[in-house]
């Protein structure tokens, strides 16, 4: 502790010395796993950023155009405030980044004056105006200072001037009168500058609008917003404002919360953002379902994240965060996860493994299973004993897995194309749901796929052909990406598609034949097996007759048209040579733990936080949180006197019925906390203990486990049963 120079006694506050903060990455960078984690995270973050940028620019295009237009001729809007209304969808957690990007891009492209007002900061009109004004008056001055540094024409005095005004601004001046005078000086300066430099011409040269972004319109107090708009309108002829309203629900929400005389102050223009489901699909396609990523989410983990998305919040941000967390969990503290890398880096990564790491690889369940299935004893022994052999095997197995992943995703996409528009969608419409099925169970043997196959056998030739050509496109693409095993499949499939063409060639040359035998025509043949039985059954009179007829029909072999033959051929080819080999569940592959993360038990409590469970766990097993020796329980039912009072009281209350007698409760509390006192049969209870008990009961009541009862005196009602 530092000493003071003061002679007198007293308390002195010492500011903690700022230690040069060491970023966490320095601590971690020594670890093997951290490097591969960083690489993996970096690559997916890069992809996400690119995608996010693309999607945001799509959304903002129209809006920015509008802002630019309004901003370049602010004189046109004296009577109304132009209000660009952006419908954002109900995925609230994503909005922060959306509007941050929007504000940045408006600043870059349209006008430097942008203020963002979040509802949480604006509980009153005063706070709202202050926040807005301070944002306007602080930010652009620094921007101007940069400008003046950029262009040599403007003098240094000016920037000094501005710095002075910047420091002068305090809350006292954050009102609209001051803002309007500030704006007029800025505008005058802008006009002066226009003559001298080209830079400000980028912004249209003239004075620009002040853009106020209100990202969460609904949560704004309606009254504040009304007055705020009226206020802005009053100044509109001096300071051209422009509002950007982020509305999560629908345009009518604006009219619901604003009365007529306020809503007629706004000139609204509506912009739509993309629904978050479409956004998620794009994220999945462009970032997560990429075969060349070394890290993938397994079916269960993916389902967990998807459930949170679909059922709870529609937040893409939350999904991405969950994905990142899974990745962290996958890598954290396990050096053998170095192996989670691209196939090219595998040989070098294997060399880094230590003896311990190899031991933990051996312990992986999938590896054990693999060793058990090995035929030769010698192999098994060398798996268990020989480290260099294991290293070689690991490389082999992992390259296999990477190849498998490529073909797996390609085949999955093909399957999805085939089945997505079947009636009733037995195999789900979306790729994401098909992925869940395929990666958790054996999809080839599932009843859903069988159902799909029967439905597919009713397809018309046009549909089938177009689907096949789509599939070929995907396969070619995957071939380019390195799914070499697909070579065979593509060749055969192309042969089959070619057959379709030859199938149709003779038909137009023999039109007469066609009309004579309609059942030959492939198109009609689709229906013919369905239609013909009903015709046959038309003139049946008795039951026995019907049975005979039916028997006859079953033996009667319905002649297949060439198209039908080809169709069954194609379908069986797809099933046997494509789906069966390539769609095996990832869990069947040895070492799948390194590529597919499926340990949801580890991440679930973090991704789906459940306060109630945490509380119960804390009460039942305080050691879990306190981590002290005194609270270690061998059995969860045990009650030790060293446990915290609430925990003791909670455990005692579990033993009772609906109503709990306070006196009995206290007695049992005393027996546990102070066994000696009870033996003595004291009538007087130690007031300290009683106070402890009372406090514990009150805490339990606050937590919602009990409540006071009116039925019986000195009793409380128990509220939970688990």
């Amino acid at each position: 502790m530092d000493s003071t120079v003061s002679v007198s006694k007293g308390c002195f506050a010492f500011k903690r010395k700022r230690k040069g903060k060491i970023p966490s990455s320095v601590h971690l960078s020594g670890n093997l796993w951290y490097q591969s984690y960083k690489k993996c995270m970096g690559s997916s973050e890069e992809l996400l950023e690119v995608l996010e940028k693309k999607i945001f620019t799509e959304i903002f295009e129209g809006l920015l155009e509008y802002v630019k237009k309004c901003s370049s001729n602010p004189e046109t809007s004296h009577t109304e405030i132009p209000a660009a209304t952006l419908l954002t969808g109900v995925n609230m957690p994503d909005h922060t980044s959306l509007f941050a990007t929007l504000s940045k891009s408006i600043q870059q492209q349209a006008t430097p004056h942008v203020a963002t007002l979040w509802a949480r900061d604006c509980s009153s009109l005063k706070a709202t105006v202050e926040r807005m004004c301070s944002q306007f008056m602080l930010v652009p001055t620094s921007d101007d200072a940069n400008d003046s540094q950029d262009c040599d024409n403007s003098s240094n005095e000016e920037s000094d001037d501005e710095k002075q005004t910047k420091s002068k601004i305090n809350r006292w001046h954050c009102n609209l009168q001051y803002l309007s005078s500030w704006y007029s000086t800025i505008a005058a300066k802008g006009n002066k500058k226009r003559k001298t430099n080209k830079l400000s011409e980028k912004f249209g040269g003239k004075a620009q609008s002040l853009v106020v972004i209100i990202p969460d319109f609904e949560s704004f107090p309606a009254k504040v917003l009304q007055e705020f708009i009226l206020l802005l309108k009053g100044y509109q002829y001096r300071v051209p404002f422009l509002l950007v309203l982020g509305v999560a629900t629908a345009v009518s929400a604006v009219h619901r919360s604003l009365p007529h005389h306020v809503s007629s102050c706004l000139r609204m223009k509506v912009f739509h953002s993309r629904p978050s489901l479409a956004y998620l699909n794009e994220v999945l396609e462009k970032v997560f379902f990429l075969p060349d990523q070394p890290f993938h989410l397994g079916g269960k983990a993916f389902k967990l994240l998807l459930d949170v998305f679909l059922f709870h919040d529609f937040s893409v941000m939350g999904f991405v965060q969950g994905y990142k967390f899974c990745m962290m969990q996958h890598f954290h503290g396990k050096d053998w996860t170095v192996l989670t890398c691209s196939p090219e880096e595998l040989p070098s990564a294997v060399k880094l493994l230590s003896k311990q790491d190899i031991e933990s690889v051996r312990k992986l369940p999938s590896v054990r299973k693999h060793i058990e299935t090995l035929c030769s004893k010698a192999d098994q022994i060398s798996w268990l004993k020989d480290d260099t052999f294991v290293k070689g095997e690991i490389v082999k197995l992992l390259t296999n897995i990477h190849k498998y992943v490529h073909s797996f995703f390609a085949t999955l996409k093909c399957l999805n194309i085939l089945t997505c528009d079947l009636p009733g969608a037995p195999l789900e419409k979306q790729l994401r749901s098909v992925y869940i099925i395929a990666s958790t169970c054996d999809i080839v043997k599932s009843s859903e796929l069988k159902e799909c196959m029967t439905l597919l056998s009713f397809l018309s030739s046009d549909e089938l052909e177009s689907k096949l050509s789509e599939i070929l496109v995907i396969l070619h693409e995957s071939l380019k990406n390195g799914a070499t095993q697909m070579m065979d499949v593509i060749e055969k499939l192309e042969g089959l598609v070619a057959k379709f063409k030859t199938l149709w060639a003779p038909v137009p040359t023999t039109p007469t034949k066609n009309s004579q035998s309609p059942s030959r025509s492939p198109l009609k043949a689709v229906r013919s097996p369905l239609k013909s039985p009903s015709k046959l059954l038309m003139n049946v009179n008795s039951r026995s007759q019907l049975r005979e007829k039916l028997k006859e029909m079953s033996t009667h072999d319905i002649k297949l048209s060439p198209f039908e033959k080809l169709r069954t051929e194609v379908l069986s080819f797809l099933l046997e040579e494509m789906f069966t080999p390539f769609l095996a569940s990832p869990q069947t592959k040895p070492l799948h733990e390194l590529v597919f993360f499926d340990n949801i038990a580890a991440v679930k409590s973090h991704i789906v936080g459940s306060p109630r469970q945490a509380m119960l766990r804390g009460l039942r097993d305080p050691h879990f949180y306190l981590d002290c020796d005194c609270c270690k329980l061998s059995d969860l039912g045990d009650i030790l006197p060293t446990l915290p009072d609430v925990s003791i009281v909670y455990k005692l209350h579990l033993e009772s019925g609906k109503l709990i007698n306070m006196f009995d409760w206290l007695q049992s509390f005393l027996t546990i906390v102070d066994p000696s006192s009870v033996e003595e049969e004291q009538t007087e209870v130690d007031p300290k203990l009683q106070a402890r008990f009372t406090r514990a009961v009150a805490e339990l009541q606050f937590l919602g486990f009990i409540k006071s009862s009116n039925r019986k005196t000195d009793h409380v009602t128990r509220l939970t049963w688990c």
Binding site: T79, E80, P82, L87, G89, V90, M92, A119, S124, L125, K126, V129, K168, W172, H173, N175, L176, Q177, Y178, S181, D216, E218, S219, E227, L230, L231, G234, A248, T249, A250, V251, S252, A253, H255, R256, S257, H260, H261, S263, S264, L266, R267, M268, K269, V270, P275, L277, V308, L310, F311, H312, D313, F314, V608, G609, S610, P611, R612, Q613
Partner: protein, 438 residues
């Protein structure tokens, strides 16, 4: 001073102008302390007073009281307007006393003792909610500041009766602005006549326009806006050469559907360029034209799965009394069934709770109902609980009270139509759980 009324260029407000001029136009005579101008929204109150004061060439300051979230802003604005320049940032004027002193100082400096100074306070109903002595002080400014020619003009769309606090106030001179009559409106709208068209033609159009709009709107600014917006449509067939300019019958046929849709969008100002896509917006609405606006609102956005159930649960909690919960949500036994029938008989005499409006309910009850109407049982997670907060943020639920320690209480903010649509998407039968639904 013989100022003629006509020199003010104010239509249809002759009486009021005369009154104002007689009150303020004689600087040699005494000036009233306070004038109270009331009248409906956009009936020309501010316009008239400003024009009159401009015409009389008196010193005046005009402040909109919306700004007055801090009284100092009103005071400073008044002072700076009288002075004609922005006050130096050092001068503070926090309360009425400081305002009075600085007003006196300023009067001495600018020699205002014998000149008429008018302070116009627009939207003065806001003053009532501010500090209790502000309004009385402003109304007796002449007395307090010892400036004999100061007059405060309060402009408001609230009647004077609503101003009087329990302690009473000296009654000001009141001027009431009548609503414009139809002929007044026609006269005023005719001022906006575009140059390229003859006056007859435009007044014809206005006749049609006003006939449609007058019933639902007398707001002159809105009418002017709508008239200009629809006039371009009115002229479209003429510009295309399809209809002759004098063929008013066919022009009427052409414009009347436009006027009707435009009437639906009154006060909602959408960008005019966007009109084509506005029509697209209207199309799906036409499809559900039988639906109420709440139902349209429900159709226009998608909620997450559990959020839908939560909002339904909130609705049920709001519109059923807690007594009925057991009957509705616990599996029925024979005995309780009889009770249900009885109670329905009773409720027929009462007012249906659907009409009364939402009751408040606490979080526990909401969750209990939520768990009894949903088939799968998701465990209470943070994600689920945040859904409630985001429903509050979306204004679909309302939070009642703001005690952070108490269990939060809510009210459902959406109506039956909305819930029916939401329930339809889940194929869930809400009416089964509503006691008062017939």
């Amino acid at each position: 001073m013989g100022v003629l009324d006509s020199s003010f260029d104010i239509l249809c407000r002759n009486g009021e102008v005369k009154q104002l001029v007689s009150l303020l136009g004689q600087p040699e005579e005494s000036i009233p302390q306070c004038i109270f101008i009331s009248g409906h929204k956009s009936s020309g109150k501010s316009y008239t007073i400003h024009k009159v004061l401009d015409g009389l060439k008196v010193h005046y300051a005009s402040v909109n009281c919306v700004e007055g979230y801090l009284p100092r802003l009103i005071f400073e604005s008044i002072l700076s307007q009288i002075k004609g320049e922005i006050l130096p940032p050092t001068s503070k004027c926090d309360d009425v006393m400081e305002f009075l002193t600085s007003l006196k100082v300023m009067a001495d400096e600018m020699n205002l003792h014998d000149k008429v100074v008018v302070i116009v306070l627009e939207g003065s109903e806001k003053l009532r909610d501010m500090s209790p002595n502000l309004l009385p002080a402003l109304m007796q400014l002449q007395e307090l500041s010892c400036l004999k020619k100061v007059c405060v003009v309060l402009v408001s769309d609230v009647l004077w009766d609503k101003y009087i606090p329990p302690g009473g106030l000296p009654p000001p001179i009141q001027i009431f602005f009548q609503q414009y009559s139809q002929s007044d409106i026609l006269k005023i709208l005719a001022l906006d006549k575009p140059k390229d068209y003859p006056a007859d033609f435009y007044s014809n159009y206005l006749q049609l326009f006003v006939a449609v709009f007058l019933r639902s709107c007398r707001d002159i600014t809105e009418l002017r806006y709508k008239a200009a917006e629809n006039f371009s449509k009115y002229c479209e067939p003429i510009l295309r050469g399809e209809i002759d300019m004098n063929d008013s019958g066919r022009l009427w046929k052409h414009i009347s559907p436009h006027l009707k849709t435009s009437l639906q969008l009154i006060y909602m100002r959408f960008e005019t360029e966007k009109l084509s896509s506005d029509m697209d917006l209207m199309k799906p609405m036409d499809k559900h034209s039988t639906l109420s606006s709440a139902a349209k609102f429900a159709l226009s956005f998608e909620l997450p799965y559990y959020a839908k159930y939560l909002i339904i649960a909130a609705f049920l909690a709001s519109y059923n009394s807690p007594k009925e919960d057991k009957k509705l949500f616990v599996k029925l036994s024979g005995r309780t069934k009889k009770k249900v029938q009885k109670s329905t008989k009773n409720t027929q005499t009462k007012i249906s709770s659907l009409v009364v409006g939402p009751r408040q309910f606490d979080l526990e009850r909401l969750l209990a109902i939520f768990y009894s109407i949903i088939e799968e049982k998701p465990h209470i997670s943070v994600n689920l609980l945040t859904q409630i907060t985001s429903l509050v943020e979306l204004q679909l639920l309302l939070k009642v009270g703001n005690d952070p320690l108490e269990t939060p209480k809510y009210k459902c903010a959406v109506g039956f139509d909305f819930i029916v649509i939401i329930a339809k998407t889940l194929s869930f039968n809400v009416t089964k759980y509503l006691v008062d639904y017939k």
